[in-house]
């Protein structure tokens, strides 16, 4: 086992544990915090995958904005003391079964793919961030999806404001 593998295993384990705790905990605030843990783990994974920019973006955006937003939402919706107590509904049995089936199915499908067990080829020493920038903003690369994504964000912005505005 090389060092990288061990790091990966620990990170993977912590991600999974955090994810499971997140979906089973009784308190909503705890769930939001466990989400943060999961997201951290994913960021570490991005670093392992030699995508440092994405790791940083993950931390800044996901944890710094989205997870915070979740915490705000939890705070705003806790009039009933329903962030305590059992959080799983009546369908948990079927849901767990379906989840398991999904995992097993996906895994089985993946094993039939011949590139399943491949290893990473070494990457040339290129500046991936700059290249990412190029890719995002060059017209013959992914400029249009980028712009569309920004329009999407604008729409989401306006929409969420409109939906949740308090007209009193």
């Amino acid at each position: 086992m090389s060092f990288v593998q061990i790091v990966f295993l620990v990170t993977a384990l912590s991600i999974l544990i955090a994810a499971v705790r997140m979906v089973t905990t009784g308190s909503m605030v705890h769930a939001a915090l466990w989400l943060v843990a999961t997201l951290f783990g994913v960021a570490v994974l991005f670093v392992l995958l030699e995508a440092p920019f994405l790791a940083v973006v993950q931390v800044v955006i996901y944890i710094g904005a989205i997870a915070i937003m979740f915490i705000f939402a939890v705070m705003l919706t806790r009039r009933e003391m329903l962030d305590k107590g059992p959080q799983l509904n009546t369908k948990k049995g079927i849901a767990a079964a379906l989840g398991a089936v999904t995992f097993v199915g996906l895994a089985l499908m993946l094993t039939t793919w011949e590139g399943f067990d491949s290893y990473a080829r070494p990457m040339a020493n290129v500046d991936t961030v700059a290249r990412l920038g190029d890719a995002l903003l060059s017209p013959d690369a992914y400029l249009l999806p980028f712009e569309v994504a920004s329009v999407l964000l604008l729409a989401a912005l306006v929409g969420s404001v409109y939906v949740s505005i308090n007209k009193k």
Binding site: V4, F8, A12, I15, L16, A19, M22, V23, M28, A31, A32, L35, T38, V42, L45, L49, E50, A51, F53, L54, Y62, I66, M69, A73, T77, L82, D83, Q87, N89, K92, A95, A96, L98, G99, T102, F103, L106, L110, G115, F116, S118, Y119, A120, R121, M123, L132, A135, A141, Y142, P145, F146, A149, S150, L153, A155, A156, L157, G159, S160, S164
Partner: protein, 102 residues
């Protein structure tokens, strides 16, 4: 070295957990948390495939960034909706919001 399969299995597991969370949680916000998990699993998958597939073509990462943006947008709107529903109905339990029934 880490075989691709580990990343793929991890992301599959994370996706399944997120799926479980979506189906089995009472609180609407918690459902959205589950959705976030699934999106993260997808992201892991995307970046893994980028690294192990075409590391010179940054398309994988771009896709992952777009997923970030979509996730953010979706969370914003979703939480806005949940808050709005909370204001109207006084509840965030998904099972109680069942007006679209028979």
């Amino acid at each position: 070295m880490i075989p691709l399969s580990w990343y793929l299995l991890l992301s599959a597991a994370l996706f399944s957990v997120g799926l479980f969370g979506v189906m089995a949680r009472k609180n609407a916000v918690a459902i959205l948390l589950g959705v976030e998990l699934m999106l993260n699993a997808v992201n892991i998958n995307l970046v893994a495939f980028w690294r192990y597939g075409t590391p010179l073509n940054l398309g994988g990462q771009v896709f992952a960034i777009i997923v970030f943006a979509v996730a953010a947008a979706e969370v914003a709107v979703g939480l806005g909706l949940v808050i709005s529903v909370y204001r109207r109905r006084g509840t965030v339990i998904a099972d109680d919001i069942d007006l679209m029934k028979w």
